[in-house]
Symmetry: C2
Subunit: 176 residues, 2 copies
Amino acid sequence: MKRIAIDMDDVMSDTTGRKIEWYERDFKVKVNREEMKGKYLNQHVPIKHKGAVREYARHPEFFKELDIFPECQRVIEDLTKKFDVFIVTATMPYPNSYVYKYEWMKKNFPFIDIRNVVYCGHKYMIDADYMIDDHAYNLETFKGKGLLYSCEHNSEDTRFERLDNWFDVENFFLNL
Amino acid sequence: MKRIAIDMDDVMSDTTGRKIEWYERDFKVKVNREEMKGKYLNQHVPIKHKGAVREYARHPEFFKELDIFPECQRVIEDLTKKFDVFIVTATMPYPNSYVYKYEWMKKNFPFIDIRNVVYCGHKYMIDADYMIDDHAYNLETFKGKGLLYSCEHNSEDTRFERLDNWFDVENFFLNL
Protein backbone atom coordinates (compact mmCIF):
# COMPACT_ATOMS: atom_id res chain seq x y z
CA MET A 1 0.00 0.00 0.00
CA LYS A 2 1.48 3.32 -1.06
CA ARG A 3 1.93 5.89 1.70
CA ILE A 4 0.78 9.53 1.62
CA ALA A 5 2.04 12.12 4.13
CA ILE A 6 -0.47 14.96 4.40
CA ASP A 7 0.37 18.25 6.06
CA MET A 8 -2.23 19.84 8.35
CA ASP A 9 -1.89 23.66 8.54
CA ASP A 10 -2.93 25.35 5.30
CA VAL A 11 -3.57 21.98 3.68
CA MET A 12 -6.32 20.48 5.84
CA SER A 13 -7.00 23.50 8.08
CA ASP A 14 -7.27 27.14 7.09
CA THR A 15 -4.52 28.39 9.37
CA THR A 16 -3.76 31.44 7.27
CA GLY A 17 -7.48 32.18 7.31
CA ARG A 18 -7.42 32.41 11.09
CA LYS A 19 -4.39 34.71 11.01
CA ILE A 20 -6.24 36.99 8.61
CA GLU A 21 -9.36 36.88 10.76
CA TRP A 22 -7.40 37.86 13.88
CA TYR A 23 -5.48 40.52 12.02
CA GLU A 24 -8.66 42.11 10.66
CA ARG A 25 -10.20 41.96 14.14
CA ASP A 26 -7.15 43.52 15.85
CA PHE A 27 -6.25 46.20 13.29
CA LYS A 28 -9.67 46.97 11.77
CA VAL A 29 -8.46 46.48 8.21
CA LYS A 30 -9.62 44.13 5.48
CA VAL A 31 -7.12 41.75 3.87
CA ASN A 32 -7.61 40.74 0.27
CA ARG A 33 -6.14 37.25 -0.06
CA GLU A 34 -5.69 37.82 -3.80
CA GLU A 35 -3.13 40.50 -3.02
CA MET A 36 -1.04 38.23 -0.79
CA LYS A 37 0.43 36.26 -3.69
CA GLY A 38 3.92 34.98 -2.90
CA LYS A 39 3.76 36.19 0.68
CA TYR A 40 2.96 35.09 4.19
CA LEU A 41 0.56 37.39 6.03
CA ASN A 42 3.41 38.86 8.11
CA GLN A 43 5.17 39.84 4.86
CA HIS A 44 2.00 41.38 3.44
CA VAL A 45 1.00 43.63 6.34
CA PRO A 46 2.62 47.00 7.15
CA ILE A 47 5.96 46.62 8.89
CA LYS A 48 4.58 47.92 12.21
CA HIS A 49 2.10 44.99 12.35
CA LYS A 50 4.55 42.21 11.48
CA GLY A 51 5.49 41.35 15.06
CA ALA A 52 1.89 40.97 16.18
CA VAL A 53 1.06 38.71 13.22
CA ARG A 54 4.11 36.55 13.87
CA GLU A 55 2.99 35.99 17.46
CA TYR A 56 -0.52 34.79 16.62
CA ALA A 57 0.52 31.15 16.24
CA ARG A 58 1.86 31.20 19.81
CA HIS A 59 -1.37 32.46 21.33
CA PRO A 60 -2.83 29.77 23.64
CA GLU A 61 -6.03 29.47 21.58
CA PHE A 62 -4.73 30.02 18.07
CA PHE A 63 -5.09 26.39 16.99
CA LYS A 64 -8.49 25.82 18.59
CA GLU A 65 -11.09 24.44 16.15
CA LEU A 66 -9.57 25.71 12.94
CA ASP A 67 -11.77 25.67 9.84
CA ILE A 68 -11.40 22.65 7.57
CA PHE A 69 -11.02 23.11 3.84
CA PRO A 70 -14.00 21.98 1.74
CA GLU A 71 -14.11 18.27 0.85
CA CYS A 72 -10.98 17.54 2.88
CA GLN A 73 -12.71 15.12 5.24
CA ARG A 74 -14.50 13.19 2.51
CA VAL A 75 -11.40 12.92 0.30
CA ILE A 76 -9.09 11.83 3.11
CA GLU A 77 -11.60 9.22 4.23
CA ASP A 78 -11.66 7.89 0.65
CA LEU A 79 -7.86 7.93 0.44
CA THR A 80 -7.57 5.80 3.59
CA LYS A 81 -9.28 2.97 1.72
CA LYS A 82 -6.52 2.74 -0.89
CA PHE A 83 -3.48 4.33 0.75
CA ASP A 84 -1.60 4.32 4.01
CA VAL A 85 -2.39 7.89 5.08
CA PHE A 86 -0.30 9.78 7.62
CA ILE A 87 -1.02 13.31 8.82
CA VAL A 88 2.38 14.96 9.31
CA THR A 89 2.40 18.38 10.93
CA ALA A 90 5.49 20.42 11.79
CA THR A 91 3.93 21.60 15.00
CA MET A 92 6.61 20.78 17.58
CA PRO A 93 7.69 24.44 18.00
CA TYR A 94 4.07 25.27 19.00
CA PRO A 95 3.19 23.44 22.22
CA ASN A 96 -0.02 25.48 22.39
CA SER A 97 -1.19 23.53 19.34
CA TYR A 98 -0.63 20.00 20.62
CA VAL A 99 -3.87 19.19 22.39
CA TYR A 100 -6.05 21.26 20.05
CA LYS A 101 -4.70 19.34 17.08
CA TYR A 102 -5.35 16.04 18.82
CA GLU A 103 -8.94 17.08 19.59
CA TRP A 104 -9.42 18.41 16.05
CA MET A 105 -8.29 15.11 14.55
CA LYS A 106 -10.44 13.05 16.92
CA LYS A 107 -13.51 15.17 16.21
CA ASN A 108 -13.17 15.77 12.48
CA PHE A 109 -11.15 12.79 11.25
CA PRO A 110 -12.31 9.90 13.47
CA PHE A 111 -11.42 7.48 10.66
CA ILE A 112 -7.71 8.32 11.04
CA ASP A 113 -6.00 6.21 13.71
CA ILE A 114 -4.19 8.60 16.04
CA ARG A 115 -1.09 6.44 15.51
CA ASN A 116 -1.08 7.76 11.93
CA VAL A 117 -0.66 11.34 13.12
CA VAL A 118 2.87 12.73 13.41
CA TYR A 119 3.95 15.92 15.17
CA CYS A 120 7.39 16.91 13.99
CA GLY A 121 9.56 19.80 12.98
CA HIS A 122 11.71 18.65 10.11
CA LYS A 123 10.03 16.31 7.66
CA TYR A 124 13.00 14.93 5.75
CA MET A 125 13.02 11.75 7.85
CA ILE A 126 9.49 10.82 6.75
CA ASP A 127 9.46 7.83 4.45
CA ALA A 128 6.43 8.00 2.14
CA ASP A 129 5.55 7.79 -1.53
CA TYR A 130 3.70 11.12 -1.69
CA MET A 131 3.78 14.26 0.38
CA ILE A 132 1.13 16.98 0.18
CA ASP A 133 2.45 20.18 1.72
CA ASP A 134 2.15 23.93 1.28
CA HIS A 135 5.82 24.47 2.16
CA ALA A 136 8.17 23.92 -0.73
CA TYR A 137 11.09 23.40 1.68
CA ASN A 138 9.45 20.21 2.93
CA LEU A 139 9.09 18.93 -0.63
CA GLU A 140 12.68 19.87 -1.53
CA THR A 141 14.06 17.28 0.90
CA PHE A 142 11.38 14.66 0.31
CA LYS A 143 12.46 11.51 -1.54
CA GLY A 144 9.01 10.61 -2.90
CA LYS A 145 6.68 12.62 -5.12
CA GLY A 146 6.05 16.07 -3.67
CA LEU A 147 2.72 17.79 -4.27
CA LEU A 148 2.46 21.49 -3.50
CA TYR A 149 -0.87 22.44 -1.93
CA SER A 150 -1.68 25.98 -3.02
CA CYS A 151 -1.48 28.71 -0.46
CA GLU A 152 -0.89 32.42 -0.96
CA HIS A 153 2.74 32.23 0.18
CA ASN A 154 3.71 29.55 -2.38
CA SER A 155 1.85 30.94 -5.40
CA GLU A 156 5.04 31.78 -7.30
CA ASP A 157 6.65 28.36 -6.94
CA THR A 158 6.68 26.31 -10.14
CA ARG A 159 8.95 23.44 -9.12
CA PHE A 160 6.30 20.98 -7.93
CA GLU A 161 3.03 19.59 -9.20
CA ARG A 162 0.34 21.78 -7.71
CA LEU A 163 -2.97 20.89 -6.07
CA ASP A 164 -5.30 23.86 -5.61
CA ASN A 165 -7.97 22.23 -3.47
CA TRP A 166 -9.27 18.86 -2.30
CA PHE A 167 -10.98 18.13 -5.60
CA ASP A 168 -7.50 18.33 -7.13
CA VAL A 169 -6.17 15.95 -4.46
CA GLU A 170 -8.99 13.53 -5.25
CA ASN A 171 -8.37 13.73 -9.00
CA PHE A 172 -4.65 13.27 -8.63
CA PHE A 173 -4.93 10.06 -6.62
CA LEU A 174 -7.88 8.71 -8.60
CA ASN A 175 -5.92 9.00 -11.80
CA LEU A 176 -2.76 7.30 -10.60
CA MET B 1 25.54 12.24 8.36
CA LYS B 2 23.93 9.00 9.55
CA ARG B 3 20.62 9.36 11.32
CA ILE B 4 19.68 7.84 14.70
CA ALA B 5 16.06 7.64 15.91
CA ILE B 6 15.99 7.41 19.71
CA ASP B 7 12.88 6.42 21.62
CA MET B 8 12.01 8.34 24.80
CA ASP B 9 9.97 6.24 27.28
CA ASP B 10 12.07 3.50 28.89
CA VAL B 11 15.06 4.48 26.78
CA MET B 12 15.75 8.05 27.87
CA SER B 13 13.21 8.30 30.69
CA ASP B 14 12.42 5.75 33.37
CA THR B 15 8.72 5.45 32.54
CA THR B 16 8.41 1.95 33.97
CA GLY B 17 10.12 3.25 37.11
CA ARG B 18 7.33 5.77 37.60
CA LYS B 19 4.67 3.10 37.11
CA ILE B 20 6.34 0.99 39.77
CA GLU B 21 6.63 3.98 42.09
CA TRP B 22 2.92 4.78 41.73
CA TYR B 23 1.95 1.13 42.08
CA GLU B 24 3.96 0.75 45.29
CA ARG B 25 2.42 3.97 46.61
CA ASP B 26 -1.15 2.95 45.76
CA PHE B 27 -1.06 -0.72 46.76
CA LYS B 28 1.52 -0.69 49.55
CA VAL B 29 3.57 -3.48 47.99
CA LYS B 30 7.19 -3.61 46.88
CA VAL B 31 8.00 -4.57 43.28
CA ASN B 32 11.25 -6.35 42.54
CA ARG B 33 12.23 -5.33 39.01
CA GLU B 34 14.34 -8.49 38.72
CA GLU B 35 11.17 -10.56 38.90
CA MET B 36 9.47 -8.67 36.06
CA LYS B 37 11.59 -10.31 33.37
CA GLY B 38 9.68 -10.65 30.09
CA LYS B 39 6.70 -8.70 31.42
CA TYR B 40 5.20 -5.24 31.55
CA LEU B 41 4.21 -4.13 35.04
CA ASN B 42 0.51 -4.74 34.30
CA GLN B 43 1.36 -8.35 33.43
CA HIS B 44 3.42 -8.77 36.58
CA VAL B 45 0.93 -7.51 39.18
CA PRO B 46 -2.06 -9.50 40.51
CA ILE B 47 -4.95 -9.55 38.07
CA LYS B 48 -7.09 -7.30 40.28
CA HIS B 49 -4.49 -4.49 39.97
CA LYS B 50 -3.99 -4.68 36.21
CA GLY B 51 -6.64 -2.11 35.30
CA ALA B 52 -5.26 0.52 37.66
CA VAL B 53 -1.71 0.03 36.36
CA ARG B 54 -2.88 0.28 32.75
CA GLU B 55 -4.53 3.63 33.50
CA TYR B 56 -1.43 5.27 35.03
CA ALA B 57 -0.12 6.53 31.68
CA ARG B 58 -3.39 8.41 31.13
CA HIS B 59 -3.22 10.26 34.44
CA PRO B 60 -2.82 14.03 33.79
CA GLU B 61 0.54 14.16 35.61
CA PHE B 62 2.03 10.80 34.73
CA PHE B 63 4.62 12.18 32.31
CA LYS B 64 5.64 15.15 34.45
CA GLU B 65 9.40 15.34 35.03
CA LEU B 66 10.24 11.69 34.55
CA ASP B 67 13.65 10.52 35.74
CA ILE B 68 16.39 10.40 33.13
CA PHE B 69 18.58 7.32 32.80
CA PRO B 70 22.21 7.80 33.88
CA GLU B 71 24.57 9.23 31.24
CA CYS B 72 21.74 9.66 28.73
CA GLN B 73 22.14 13.42 28.47
CA ARG B 74 25.91 13.34 28.06
CA VAL B 75 25.86 10.55 25.50
CA ILE B 76 23.10 12.09 23.39
CA GLU B 77 24.88 15.43 23.41
CA ASP B 78 28.01 13.65 22.15
CA LEU B 79 26.03 11.76 19.50
CA THR B 80 24.61 15.01 18.11
CA LYS B 81 28.15 16.01 17.10
CA LYS B 82 28.52 13.05 14.76
CA PHE B 83 24.99 11.97 13.93
CA ASP B 84 21.67 13.44 12.92
CA VAL B 85 19.77 12.61 16.11
CA PHE B 86 15.96 12.44 16.25
CA ILE B 87 13.94 11.69 19.36
CA VAL B 88 10.97 9.62 18.21
CA THR B 89 8.30 8.89 20.79
CA ALA B 90 5.07 6.99 20.15
CA THR B 91 3.15 9.33 22.40
CA MET B 92 0.22 10.39 20.21
CA PRO B 93 -2.31 8.21 22.09
CA TYR B 94 -1.37 10.09 25.30
CA PRO B 95 -2.31 13.76 24.95
CA ASN B 96 -1.57 14.21 28.66
CA SER B 97 2.10 13.65 27.78
CA TYR B 98 2.48 16.23 25.02
CA VAL B 99 3.39 19.38 26.88
CA TYR B 100 5.31 17.58 29.65
CA LYS B 101 7.51 15.91 27.06
CA TYR B 102 8.14 19.23 25.34
CA GLU B 103 9.12 20.82 28.67
CA TRP B 104 11.27 17.81 29.59
CA MET B 105 13.17 18.03 26.31
CA LYS B 106 13.63 21.81 26.60
CA LYS B 107 14.89 21.53 30.17
CA ASN B 108 17.05 18.41 29.99
CA PHE B 109 18.11 18.25 26.33
CA PRO B 110 18.50 21.90 25.32
CA PHE B 111 21.06 20.84 22.70
CA ILE B 112 18.34 18.99 20.74
CA ASP B 113 16.50 21.26 18.33
CA ILE B 114 12.78 20.79 18.98
CA ARG B 115 12.39 20.20 15.23
CA ASN B 116 14.30 16.95 15.80
CA VAL B 117 11.63 15.64 18.16
CA VAL B 118 8.83 13.51 16.71
CA TYR B 119 5.58 12.54 18.38
CA CYS B 120 4.04 9.61 16.57
CA GLY B 121 2.24 6.34 16.99
CA HIS B 122 3.56 3.97 14.38
CA LYS B 123 7.26 4.26 13.65
CA TYR B 124 7.57 2.32 10.40
CA MET B 125 7.52 5.53 8.34
CA ILE B 126 10.66 6.86 10.04
CA ASP B 127 13.64 6.85 7.73
CA ALA B 128 16.86 6.51 9.73
CA ASP B 129 20.02 4.42 9.82
CA TYR B 130 19.66 3.33 13.45
CA MET B 131 16.74 3.03 15.83
CA ILE B 132 17.15 2.61 19.60
CA ASP B 133 13.90 1.37 21.10
CA ASP B 134 12.69 -0.86 23.92
CA HIS B 135 9.78 -2.18 21.82
CA ALA B 136 10.76 -4.99 19.50
CA TYR B 137 7.68 -4.31 17.33
CA ASN B 138 9.15 -0.94 16.35
CA LEU B 139 12.40 -2.61 15.34
CA GLU B 140 10.62 -5.37 13.41
CA THR B 141 9.30 -2.86 10.85
CA PHE B 142 12.40 -0.65 10.79
CA LYS B 143 14.50 -0.73 7.63
CA GLY B 144 17.78 0.34 9.25
CA LYS B 145 19.74 -1.27 12.09
CA GLY B 146 17.52 -1.84 15.12
CA LEU B 147 19.01 -1.70 18.62
CA LEU B 148 16.96 -3.04 21.49
CA TYR B 149 17.28 -0.97 24.65
CA SER B 150 16.92 -3.29 27.61
CA CYS B 151 13.78 -3.05 29.68
CA GLU B 152 12.11 -5.70 31.84
CA HIS B 153 9.40 -6.44 29.28
CA ASN B 154 11.86 -7.23 26.44
CA SER B 155 14.37 -9.27 28.43
CA GLU B 156 13.55 -12.53 26.60
CA ASP B 157 13.94 -11.11 23.08
CA THR B 158 17.08 -12.27 21.29
CA ARG B 159 16.39 -11.00 17.77
CA PHE B 160 18.14 -7.63 18.00
CA GLU B 161 21.48 -6.30 19.17
CA ARG B 162 20.93 -5.23 22.74
CA LEU B 163 22.04 -2.09 24.60
CA ASP B 164 21.67 -2.33 28.39
CA ASN B 165 22.40 1.26 29.32
CA TRP B 166 23.81 4.51 27.97
CA PHE B 167 27.41 3.34 28.29
CA ASP B 168 26.44 0.58 25.86
CA VAL B 169 24.92 3.17 23.51
CA GLU B 170 28.12 5.19 23.68
CA ASN B 171 30.31 2.16 23.03
CA PHE B 172 28.19 0.98 20.13
CA PHE B 173 28.39 4.29 18.27
CA LEU B 174 32.03 4.96 19.17
CA ASN B 175 33.03 1.63 17.68
CA LEU B 176 31.20 2.00 14.39
